[in-house]
Amino acid sequence: MDKLKPHFHKGGKFSFLHSTFDAFETFLFVPNHTTRVGSHIRDGIDLKRTMFMVVIAMMPVLLFGMWNVGYQYHLSIGETASILDNFLYGLMKALPVIVVSYTVGLGIEFAFAQIKGHMVNEGFLVSGLLIPLCLPPEIPLWMVAVATAFAVIVGKEVFGGTGMNVLNPALTARVFLYFAYPGAMSGDEVWVAGSPEKWVDGFSGATNLAQVYNQSTGGATHFDPSMLSASAWDSFMGWIPGSLGETSTLLCLVGALFLIASGIGSWKIIVSTFVGGYVMGAILNMAGGNAYFDMPAYYHLIIGGFAFGAVYMATDPVTASQTETGKWIYGFLIGVLTVMIRVFNPAYPEGIMMAILLMNVFAPLIDSYVIQANIKRRLRRVTA
């Protein structure tokens, strides 16, 4: 390492690659930097470990998602396969998406760091895995590449890079695909791998969200669990069609526990998002009127990407509210908005994506009110 180092420093023959070298060096070794001013000792935590903890927290939904892709495929063609076969099938579908996402994203991050002479930030370690997890299994790879590039450049780098972005990069990628290529991102046929032409009779690739929505617009005034091809239990466990990582509420909760226990994810945001979703669902229950209004509030928490969004997307510290009081409001409103968008807006079957992005935009406003309150408390002291 020490022999290589001079080549990458100013004046060395590879000095144009110094950010790249630094990134690999600090990945392999915690550097020998010591404190100069201020505190002489520093906490053992750094951004690399923080981001890696989030990656670990995503492992349960990733592994389950891979199995589920295979399971849904074999179900759709009327075959049964072993756990391993299901998993291997899903692995073959998911791995290319993950590789493309990381390659494109990290490539752009390194290039920007190089041009600006910055260090490479670790933020994309998380975004690079979140993007595949929130996409359908059969998404064309070129779309993944385009969306990732869009998310990193427009979603992040134009704002100044990691820490400065307003919108969650992974959701930016998803929303880009959703509006640019709706055919690949919506409908009843994209959520299961393989070709719909091979589906056996009676198999439905439709998601819960689409089914309950269609029943409502079809005139059903009351909710009946038989309207959905998946039971509440199936939806909670996650063996249903959907994006790679979103289907299992149970494993999202496992990830949430890990994030909370390691102190990385904000439990305030996770809890308040679930509470917000449930409260809004309960209000709609009281109003009643059609099947969607009438659907028990807890269904909202276990169908679609609610749990996935609440645990892995809403908690992104950069785009969430940054004050502790603000986090409660931010999460609660995400939950409320998710259910409102699902039920009231016919254009978007999935509400959590739009709700989080909307609240990303409003988070600074929430913080501003919390800060104002702090300032007012200080001013009141003088007059008191």
């Binding site: 390492m1 600090t26 392999l28 070794f29 915690v30 550097p31 020998n32 930097h33 010591t34 404190t35 001013v37 201020g38 505190s39 002489h40 000792i41 520093r42 906490d43 053992g44 935590i45 750094d46 951004l47 690399k48 470990r49 923080t50 890696f52 903890m53 260090m119 930030n121 670790e122 933020g123 100044g160 890079g161 990691t162 820490g163 400065m164 226990a261 390691s262 102190g263 990385i264 904000s266 510290p317 950069v318 969430a320 940054q322 004050t323 502790e324 986090k327 913080d367 919390v370 800060i371 702090n374 300032i375 408390r377 200080r378 002291r381 003088v382």
Partner: protein, 464 residues
Amino acid sequence: MCFTSNFAADLRSLSGMGNIIKIKRGKDINLIGRAEKTIRDGASSTTYAVQPPNFKGLVPKLEVKEGDEVKAGTAIFSDKSNPNIKFTSPVSGEIAEVVRGDRRAILQVRILADTSGISYEDLGAMDPRSADRDSIVLKIQQAGLWPALRQRPYNVICDAMDVPKAIFISGFNSAPLGPETNMLFNDADLRSFQTGVNALSKLTDGKIHLSLRANEDNILSKAEGVEKHYFSGPHPAGLVGVQIHHIDPVNKGEVVWTIQPNHLVMIGRLFETGKYDASQVIAVAGSELNAPAYYKVISGCQVGSLIQDLKQDHVRVISGDVLTGTRIEKDGYLGYFDNLISVIPEGDEYEFLGWLFPTYARPTISSSLPISKFLKKQFRANTNYHGEERAYVMTGQYEKVMPMDILPVQLIKAILAKDLEKMEKLGIYEVVEEDLALCEFVCTSKMEVQQILREGLELMESES
């Protein structure tokens, strides 16, 4: 009137103590190498130093030259903006060297001490109870003890024209390896402390607040003429800034003064004997010392002889505590405000995949390092950054160690943006560097919080 206030005081003393102020947010960093409870003689130092950089914002005007003979209490330099404020020699001897740095700024004035005992300037004894404010101020200034009083906001030397709304004293130290108050003072010191309090009471129309740790035997609790407050909880409970915030916070336009107990003892001795007697007890502590202990020394002493018995040589010597102290050489000098020398290992080593698999325990507030956080009780902490500086990503960390109603991240961002109005509104007048030292310690993005705050304070001061 008199009756009721005495009655209230009696009630408080009957119940043992007043209300306990509970500090919840903070972190006790438990380092290996606390000073053993024995006091050794540390008077073997041959040179002493008075160091202008110890005093924020000071422009010194030298009053001696190399080779001059001085006594303890002879002015070495004065404050250029107020020549009455003297900085005096703690011992008698000969001016050995004036050490200068960039642009000839004076860093140290070194004094070679007499070997035959200390001779003192006679500054005149005085009973502060019968003296007026001006003569008390003048005496403290001439003896070189005025700089021991520091003003909030900004943590700078006080202006005697100001009448502070209160004076605050922290009677305990909660910092890592911090000395225990009962080791620092004996009964004679307590009497001088009381004389010092009597003198201070002439400087303010308000109260003198003394903060003590709840449920702890503390020699200073016997002092009279002070309002006592009791704090419980982790560091930074012992920081005077935190105590001010909970007792009587500093608002815009207000000024309070702070002073450390050891300096108040010196002020007391000055009024009792007419001498500047700068002797004090300090703790010499840290994992790299074979025998950490307390030492009786004189302010400004060279620390070399106190830290000779090291476990290994590659160490950082700090005058002060590991969160806020000043890095000094092994033959460096004790800072004016410090009563602790910390010796910890340097951390300039690479650690293979250390961010993922730490090879040794390190202090942390992060549960993502469960062995360090939950299992390890004491640490041999080193000076490694454990990472590199990054943009702000994580939130909610500073708040865990900030026991004031202040939004630390937002304040730091306002300083970085040089937004004076916002800095003021977010409470910059209430904090000095040490109050945010724990925020700097816990920062995932490895920001240099204390330095940023100092720049913000200097900006505020220059604009006001």
